[in-house]
């Protein structure tokens, strides 16, 4: 019960802390950029439809760049910011369960990234709908458009939320294991997720991106398969995606909790 209380306290403080624009302006900029681009294209382009704008921007920018970067910035800060700022001493000299602290913070960060990126994805779709041949979602009916039928908005939203879950918790755990989670996270984002996921063959299954694509492929409209690099692999079933990404998230939480229990953070004076 005490652990749950601590977990909740940390989740709430981490979430509120992340929301503060002073701390997270960078994350907001990254998240909103594709929406601005979508709006600019939607308002100015002549030969393009809303579906195309939403799919291209969410696939090439949002899922492959913005989601990993935003979750990296938010996830790695769960522990490493405390270490960098040398405030972790205050936490580790209190009678709290360290795993509860880690899980609470990680879930707080997850809440923030899921909310922000989810909102960013919806905003992107909304901005895209201003394209002259706005197919889905129709700006007049948004947000009451029949999303489930359009094969664009819901798949994007689902993939973004799943990506937030997997990446945020992975990067949070990374922050427990290493003093330089940002560097390793960037290497992972660009070298593994950016490179491996675009190679043909079964290597793709080693990346989170592959499962996000699988999710979209299972729920998305025909237009998705025309995107470059999208149809390079046999996709997982939605149940398989949920199972694997859920396992990955749980594993990240478990490993982070296990490591932080006895880890000492040596701060220089």
């Amino acid at each position: 019960m005490q652990n749950l209380r601590i977990l909740g306290l940390f989740a709430r403080t981490q979430f509120l802390r992340s929301l503060a624009p002073r701390q997270s302006w960078l994350v907001y900029v990254f998240t909103l950029l594709p929406s601005f681009v979508a709006l600019a294209i939607g308002l100015n382009a002549r030969r393009i439809d809303a579906e195309g704008v939403a799919m291209h921007l969410s696939w090439f920018l949002f899922l492959q760049v913005v989601v990993p970067l935003v979750t990296l910035l938010a996830g790695q800060a769960v522990i490493s910011r405390e270490v960098d700022d040398r405030t972790i001493t205050y936490l580790f000299s209190r009678p709290i369960s360290r795993p509860a602290m880690f899980v609470g913070r990680a879930l707080g960060a997850l809440g923030f990234t899921a909310l922000l990126l989810g909102a960013g994805a919806l905003l992107l779709c909304y901005a895209a709908s201003f394209a002259p041949q706005g197919l889905v979602p129709n700006p007049e009916r948004f947000p009451l458009a029949p999303w489930s039928g359009d094969g664009v908005v819901l798949p994007i939203l689902g993939a973004v939320l799943l990506g937030s879950l997997a990446y945020t918790l992975m990067f949070a755990a990374l922050g427990v294991f290493t003093r330089h989670p940002m560097i390793l996270g960037l290497l992972y984002t660009f070298a593994v997720e950016g490179f491996l996921s675009n190679l043909p063959g079964s290597n793709q299954a080693l990346t989170v991106q592959y499962y996000l694509r699988s999710w979209i492929a299972a729920h998305g409209a025909q237009g998705w398969s025309k995107l470059e690099g999208f149809g390079l692999a046999d996709f997982q079933s939605p149940a398989g995606v949920l199972l694997r990404l859920g396992l990955l998230a749980a594993l990240a939480l478990a490993l982070g909790s296990w490591r932080i229990r006895r880890k000492e953070f040596v701060l220089s004076s």
């Binding site: 005490q2 601590i6 306290l9 403080t13 802390r17 503060a20 002073r22 701390q23 700022d85 040398r86 405030t87 001493t89 205050y90 936490l91 580790f92 000299s93 209190r94 009678p95 709290i96 369960s97 360290r98 229990r261 006895r262 000492e264 953070f265 040596v266 701060l267 004076s269």
Partner: protein
Amino acid sequence: MSGALLSAQGLSRWYGPVVGVNDLTLEVDGGIVGLLGPNGAGKSTFLKLVAGEIRPSRGSVRVLGFEPFANREYFRVLGFCPQQDALYEELDAREFVSFLLRLSGFDAREARSRAERALERTGLADAMLRRTAGFSKGMRQRTKLAAAIAHEPRFLIVDEPLTGLDPLVRTEMIALFQELGREGVHILISSHVLHEIESVTQDILLLHRGRLLAQGPVPEIRKLLSRYPHKVEIHARDARRLARALLELEGTSTVHVAPEGGRLSIETFDLARFHAELPAIAARERAGIHTLESTDAGLDAVFDYLVG
């Protein structure tokens, strides 16, 4: 194991090739204890070990019967005020202390009222609703101390609390430590400011190059330093006559009379005998002693002799 507040057996901690503390074996009974040593002596490492922030590389340490590292039961009775000035800059002082109190198990209301009391006690009543980002060094120090004492710990560790503070704040801090000591809180306090430590406590641990150089009340440590003669300064009406008589006293090594007369500096290896015989000598020689002072019985001298 005795009922000591703190005991260490062969306690060592190193960071790669750098030795923090090396083979410390000691026992501390309680009360207020000053932890002294020059820069790089291992004070902060020792405090981190005692505070459970880091683990020993070798040996063991127990505080109030607990092994400190990551021990939640121990953290219930511990108050730790670290050296670094870091605070949660986005919070105000009351929020900061309340948050840490909530981690100690208090509910929101209790945490808030305790935080306010602790901040009042450290003299931050007027600034408790200001964001800590704009705090001065002294205010940060007070905030940290408030956070460390707000849950009424049995044992308080304070790392360099007086460094960088103005004289007024120093005096207030010292008064607070004395008050806490009177309330029965055991305090381990590290500092470079020797005379101020001396005004808080006579019990010290002296570290140098990671090793324990001395431990105990300052006057007793001084007595153990028999290699160095004790220095006594006397102001007397007839200093020359008294000097002559004192030179014949066993144990006296040198007697120096100031050129202007009236002031005598004496060095003796047998301070007890000197004090026992002095009244009789002074009466016999009609020296007319005004003042008598031991000039190297203090912490400064002990520190100099041991470290210098």
